[in-house]
Amino acid sequence: EAGQAYFDKIIAEDSRIEPADWMPEKYRKTLVRQMSQHAHSEIIGMQPEANWITRAPSLKRKAILMAKVQDEAGHGLYLYSATETLGTPRDVLNQQLLEGKAKYSSIFNYPANSWADMGAIGWLVDGAAIANQVPLCRASYGPYGRAMVRICKEESFHQRQGFEILLELSNGTPAQKQMAQDAVNRFYAPALMMFGPTDTDSPNSQQSMAWNIKRFSNDELRSRFVGMIQEQVKVLGLTLPDDKIRYNEETGMWEHGELDWDEFHEVLAGRGPCNAQRMERRREAHENGAWVREAAAAYAEKKAQKAQVA
C-alpha cells in the first residue's frame, strides 16, 4: 500500500517512476506492451528504407539513408533496454515479434516502391512519429521518457532529411516531381492513421492519460499534425490528397477527410501489402544469424572459462 501511495503521489506530481519503484501490474504491462511495440516498429521500420540503400541515386543520399536506417536499429536497442528495466528481457520481446504475438506500427506494412518514398517516410511517417513521441518525452516512466528524448532528437533530424528529399524532387524534373507527389499521395492517409483510432474508438487511451504515459488524445495529435503538414506541403510545392482539410475555429482543431478505417484494421490484422514479407524477412535474418550468435556465445564462454582458470 505504501507503494501504491508513492506511485499515486509521483503521478499526481507529474514526476517520474523509476525501475526500482513499485508500480501497478497494469501500468507495467501497458508500458511493456507500448515500449516493445515501439521498439519492434523501429526494427521492422528499417526494411522499407533498407530497400533503397543499394539503389540510392547519389552517394550523399546513400550515406544519409544508411545512417538513418542504422539509427533506427539504435532506437530499437535503446527501447529494448528501457523495456528490460521493466523485467522483460530482449530475447523474450524478440521472440514475441517473430511469433507474430507482438504488434508493430502498421505503416511499415506498406511498400516503399520508389525513391520518393524515402522522402515521404521521412517527412510524413517520421513526422507523425515525432508528433506522437514528443509528449512521450515527459512520460511518467523515467527510462521511457529519457529514451524518447534521445530518439526525438534524431527523428526530427530524419524528418528534415525526408523533407529535403521531397523538396529536391519537387524542384527537379517533371518525372521527379511526379514521383514525389505519388509518394505523398500514398503515405498521407496511412501516416494519419498512425495516431490510432478516433478517440471514440480508443478505449485504452484514458487509462494511459491518467498514468501520464499519454498526454494528448489520438485525435488531438492527429489534428495538430494535419495543421503542420498542410503548411509544410506548400513549401514543398506539392499537395495533400485530401480536399477536406480545414481549420475549425470553434473547436480549434484541424479537420481532414475521412480515413479508411477498414483498411487500417485489415493491415492490423496482417493483411497489409507487406505484413507477410516484413515478418518473413525478420525471421530469415534471425534464423540465418543463429549460428553466428551461437558462435559468439560459445566463444564468450570459452573466454570466461579461461579467465577463471587464470
Binding site: 547519389s58 536506417v69 542504422q70 524534373t173
Partner: protein, 245 residues
C-alpha cells in the same frame, strides 16, 4: 594529373563497391548490434569513396556521382575482392578481414604520400579502418574459435575469397609512375601476411591453400559479379539523367 586521378579511382572504387556490398546487410545482420556495426563500416567506406572519387573526378571535370553512377563496368577500377558477393556472414567477415587489413597497411603508408590530398584522406580513413580491422579480427576469432559450424563457415568464407587476395598486392606501370605519391602494393604483402597469420592462428584457422585467380593488375577487367552490382546501384540515377537528388 591523370595518373593521380586513376590511382584515386582505384582507392575510391574499392571503398564504394565494398560499401555497396555491406549496405545490403543493414536490416539483415545476425543481431542488431551487427546491423549497426556493418552499417558503420559501410558508412565509413562511402565517406572514403566520396573523398577519393571527388578528388579523381576533379581531373576530368566530373563529380563523385558522375563517377559512381555513370561509368560502365570498364570504367571501374575496383578489385575482384570487393566485388565478391556477400555470401553468408562468414564469407562477409572473411572478405572484411582481408580488405581491412589491406586497407590498414595501405592507408598507414599513404599518409606519407607526397600528394597532400591523398595523404589527408588516408589520415582520416586510417582511424576508421583501424576499427574495421578490429571488428573483422574479433569476429574471425569468435567464428574460428566458436562452434564447429562457425569454424566450418569462416573457413569456407576464407577459401572463397582467397583467390582474389593476390590482386591487391600487384604493382603495375601506374604505380611505378607514381613513385612517392602511390603506395607500392607489393610492399604491403609481408605485413599483411604477418597480421593475417597471427589472427588466423589465434582463431584456430589456417591460411587457405588455394590457387590465385588470374586477375588484372591494372584493374580494368572485373569479375562477373560487378555487372549485377552496378545494374542495381545505378538503376535509378540512370533513369533520370541530369537530375539532382
Amino acid at each position: 594529373g591523370e595518373d593521380v586521378a586513376e590511382y584515386a579511382l582505384r582507392l575510391g572504387d574499392d571503398a564504394l563497391i565494398l560499401a555497396q556490398r555491406l549496405g545490403w546487410w543493414i536490416s539483415r545482420a545476425p543481431e542488431l548490434e551487427e546491423d549497426i556495426a556493418l552499417g558503420n563500416i559501410a558508412l565509413d567506406q562511402i565517406g572514403h569513396a566520396r573523398s577519393f572519387l571527388t578528388y579523381a573526378g576533379a581531373a576530368w571535370g566530373k563529380s563523385e556521382d558522375d563517377l559512381a553512377y555513370f561509368r560502365g563496368e570498364d570504367g571501374f577500377r575496383s578489385s575482384y575482392l570487393v566485388e565478391q558477393p556477400n555470401g553468408d556472414f562468414g564469407k562477409t567477415i572473411a572478405r572484411q578481414l582481408v580488405i581491412s587489413v589491406y586497407q590498414h597497411e595501405l592507408y598507414s603508408r599513404l599518409v606519407a604520400s607526397t600528394d597532400a590530398t591523398l595523404a589527408a584522406v588516408a589520415a582520416k580513413a586510417l582511424k576508421e579502418v583501424d576499427y574495421h580491422r578490429d571488428h573483422a579480427k574479433q569476429w574471425t576469432l569468435r567464428l574460428g574459435d566458436g562452434t564447429e559450424e562457425s569454424n566450418r563457415r569462416i573457413t569456407a568464407g576464407l577459401v572463397s575469397v582467397w583467390p582474389y587476395v593476390d590482386q591487391l598486392f600487384q604493382d603495375d606501370e601506374l604505380i611505378e609512375r607514381l613513385d612517392g605519391v602511390a603506395v607500392r602494393p607489393s610492399e604491403l604483402r609481408e605485413p599483411f601476411d604477418a597480421y593475417i597469420a597471427a589472427v588466423l592462428a589465434e582463431a584456430g584457422l589456417e591460411v587457405p591453400q588455394v590457387p590465385n585467380a588470374m586477375t588484372d593488375k591494372s584493374r580494368r577487367r572485373h569479375s562477373e559479379h560487378l555487372g549485377y552490382l552496378l545494374a542495381e546501384m545505378q538503376v535509378l540515377a540512370r533513369e533520370h539523367p541530369g537530375a539532382t537528388w
